[in-house]
């Protein structure tokens, strides 16, 4: 049992932090949002750091790293509220590497690693909310291969993506496909999301598709769990910085002739934020360290983690605004955007109530970190 980071992991953290500090200023972020919420150049910079290939194996030209490294990277991107969706690259690396046939891997993994291909998971459907067991999108097989038809909503940077990982029902069973955006029958819209990033709806009309796996359920759950662990780590970074911004402000802002950090009512709120942050960090560790566990154990761990993270995110975000006062409900101020990011992350890959239901359904007689 050991929660220390290795020196390699610390170096990775430093490298990402340096990039965030130097290259991803709040001004740049603001201009990215103004330009639509996604910057391919910034995404490419992440790729140059090796991050898009983090979960891609050595053999496929990637970094061949594990969940702890993924966590370290996501914490740092969270600290900078980076809009470009690295979790999607982690998912693509994990899913294609783990489930796709060799020729699909050979085509896409090098491009994923180099940043030339942006691959995103397109699983959200109107009737599903956070359920993963089935969907309305269908797949058909013919002599020419597979085609997929259906609509997916709130797909990260849909209109910039090069390919989509798409769950669809094949003969009544969930399968997973890769669909290229330039394929016939594919159209993607685009809009801003609450955090200043970008998403879109994906419409597939008999779009040609590459089969990733017929055991779509297993692969999709794994994909979402990679996403949950990444989201938890990202949220920890966002909260870490949120608390820092808030306490800096409290030690500067004066009212009644003194800095507001001297008021006990506010100090106790800060103590509660610190509590929520550390519980969240603990459960983010837990999520990442369980990401390679057998599926039932992994799924249970992700649900527990997301319940804690969801509660923590909402508390830390809301209290940060309250402790700042009016400034933090302005669009101009940086902390406002941390709050929005936390709000969005709570609803990413399943919100608190959804995962509470998952925990509730899975409860056993004994429970703990090791049970």
């Amino acid at each position: 049992m050991d929660f220390d980071f290795s020196s390699d992991q610390e170096q990775l953290r430093d490298a990402v932090r340096k990039w965030v500090d130097k290259a991803y200023s709040f001004d740049r972020r603001r201009s990215i949002t103004a330009a639509g919420g996604f910057d391919r150049a910034a995404y490419k910079e992440l790729a140059e750091l090796g991050l898009t290939g983090l979960y891609v194996s050595d053999a496929d030209g990637g970094m061949d790293m594990g969940p702890t490294e993924g966590m370290v990277v996501m914490e740092e991107l969270g600290r900078g509220i980076v809009l470009e969706p690295l979790p999607q690259a982690l998912i693509a690396g994990g899913v294609l590497g783990g489930y796709a046939p060799a020729e699909l891997k050979a085509t896409w993994l090098p491009r994923l690693t180099s940043g030339d291909a942006l691959i995103v998971l397109a699983h959200q459907e109107r009737a599903l909310r956070y359920k993963l067991a089935a969907c309305a999108t269908t797949a058909r097989h013919s002599a020419d291969g597979w085609t997929v038809s259906g609509t997916k909503n709130v797909v990260p940077v849909a209109d910039h993506a090069d390919a989509f990982i798409v769950p669809a029902m094949a003969d009544g069973k969930l399968a997973l496909f890769l669909v290229e955006r330039t394929a016939s029958g594919v159209s993607a819209s685009g809009y801003l999301t609450q955090d200043g990033g970008r998403a879109g709806d994906l419409t597939l009309e008999a779009a040609p598709a590459h089969l990733i796996t017929l055991d779509g359920q297993t692969a999709l759950e794994h994909a979402v769990d990679i996403g949950i662990a990444a989201t938890c780590a990202e949220a920890v970074g966002v909260m870490d910085k949120t608390l820092l911004i808030t306490t800096d402000y409290m030690n500067t802002r004066k009212q009644f002739g003194v800095v507001i950090a001297t008021f006990q009512a506010l100090r106790h709120r800060v103590a509660d934020m610190k509590m929520q942050l550390e519980l969240a960090r603990s459960m983010s560790f837990y999520a990442s360290l369980k990401l390679n566990a057998p599926a039932p154990e992994r799924r249970a761990a992700m649900a527990r983690a997301k319940v804690q993270l969801g509660q923590s995110m909402r508390f830390v975000g809301q209290q940060a605004v309250q402790l700042h006062g009016g400034i933090a409900v302005t669009d101009e101020y940086i902390a406002s955007h941390y709050f929005k990011k936390l709000t969005q992350l709570e609803m990413t890959f399943g919100d608190t109530l959804h995962h509470l239901g998952e925990v509730s359904n899975r409860m056993q007689d004994t429970a703990g970190v090791f049970a």
């Binding site: 409290m250 603990s282 360290l289």
Partner: protein, 393 residues
């Protein structure tokens, strides 16, 4: 980063588990698993069993006759004891005063007091709080005046846990009223059989007398019972507070009580009520998160790193969760938690409990009892002040 215990740690756990299984008396475990009342004899019986094995002072270094375990081993030991249904070790001797005697007492004091603590023979109490000194402990007034080769102690202590059984008591006493309140406090060991010591149990909400008032009326205490230097007692007390930090979260007992809560919920028929079960699920997440927090502190201690900023959170969270499980147990039983039948909280009671489920008898009492947890050991509000200090300066 690694979430699993090492093979050595696993083997250690197995060894402890087997020993506890073989040595913990069934009747005591039964009481603990069902929150039935424990007698002085129950507690001391277990203490002496541990003492004989050399594990009552399980946090002690080898040079003082302890096992010399590291933070993780101590945690594993406590977890195995808690899950098996062992009573909590009464901490005042082995966990609280012994480390102070080791760190600041002289050789004679160590030789005189430590063996009785290690064996479980001598029951120790703590004399800290006073009617006018709770969270503001440094304002304490109980006075010790030096008169030749002894001190004369006058004043009152209160909230002395299980003080009615106490044979010795370690006290913070005022030996000087000059300077800051903290600089006039001394750490004194007092034989509770001394003339002038009187103890009055205080009946609490659960009907039991868990705490006491202790009066000192011209009590003569030999000067050789002073620990360390006069007026340095506050430093020693703070050292004690910094000791055994993960212990206070009590996550191991909480895991056991979560299991009990689930049993109660099933018996009471609320397990299948999603509204109720979700509350248990929420608690389950809280417990896992607390355990992770504890493991992080242990890991930091093992590798010699400073974890002060998170260790301060353990008492707050641990106590809140204890209150929550006791609350949910009571709510699960609902109206059947209301009858206050004290005999039904004793082991072996053969009467008819209303509704027929005698396990419901202690639930409300436990809930009432648990209100103490956010008050004692430095109230949670004081703890928040400390946490805020680490974050805000």
């Amino acid at each position: 980063m690694d979430l699993s215990f090492t093979p050595d740690e696993q083997a250690f756990r197995e060894e402890i588990r087997a020993w506890v299984k073989a040595n913990l008396p069934d009747d005591i475990a039964h009481k603990v698993h069902n929150a039935l009342r424990l007698t002085r004899n129950d507690m001391q019986r277990w203490a002496k069993i541990l003492g004989q094995k050399g594990w009552l002072g399980h946090g002690w270094a080898k040079e003082f006759g302890g096992p010399g375990w590291n933070a993780v081993q101590k945690h594993l030991f406590e977890e195995e004891c808690a899950l098996a249904g062992a009573p909590r070790v009464v901490p005042f001797g082995p966990v609280m005063v012994a480390p102070v005697i080791m760190a600041f007492g002289n050789k004679e004091q160590q030789e005189r007091f430590l063996p009785g603590i290690a064996s479980g023979e001598v029951w120790w109490s703590q004399g800290y709080s006073e009617p006018g000194a709770g969270s503001d402990l440094a304002s304490l007034k109980c006075k010790a005046e030096r008169q030749g080769d002894h001190f004369v102690v006058n004043g009152q202590k209160t909230w002395t846990t299980l003080g009615q059984y106490g044979e010795w008591i370690f006290c913070l006493v005022r030996t000087s009223s000059e300077g800051k309140p903290q600089t006039g406090i001394s750490f004194l060991l007092i034989d509770m059989k001394s003339p002038g010591v009187s103890v009055r149990p205080i009946k609490l909400l659960d009907g039991e007398c868990e705490v006491n008032e202790v009066w000192f009326d011209n009590v003569k205490v030999p000067a050789e019972n002073l620990i360390g230097e006069e007026n340095k007692g506050w430093t020693y007390a703070k050292y004690l507070l910094g000791h055994e930090r993960t212990n206070i979260a009590d996550v191991n007992r909480t895991k056991r009580e979560l299991e009990r809560l689930k049993r109660i919920a099933k018996t009471e028929g609320v397990w299948d009520d999603a509204r109720f079960r979700d509350q248990i699920a929420l608690l389950e997440v809280d417990v896992v998160a607390l355990e992770m927090l504890v493991l992080r502190v242990l890991s930091a201690e093992k590798s010699g790193k400073n974890s002060l900023d998170i260790a301060g959170l353990l008492k707050i969270r641990g106590s809140e969760i204890q209150q929550r499980y006791s609350e949910l147990m009571m709510l699960a039983a609902g109206p059947y938690s209301l009858p206050f039948i004290e005999e039904a909280m004793e082991a072996g009671w053969q009467g008819d409990f209303p509704g027929g489920e005698v396990a419901d008898a202690p639930l409300a009492s436990t809930y009432f009892n648990m209100r103490k947890t956010t008050i004692y050991g430095g109230s949670n509000e004081v703890q928040r002040n400390i946490v805020a200090q680490t974050v805000l300066g």
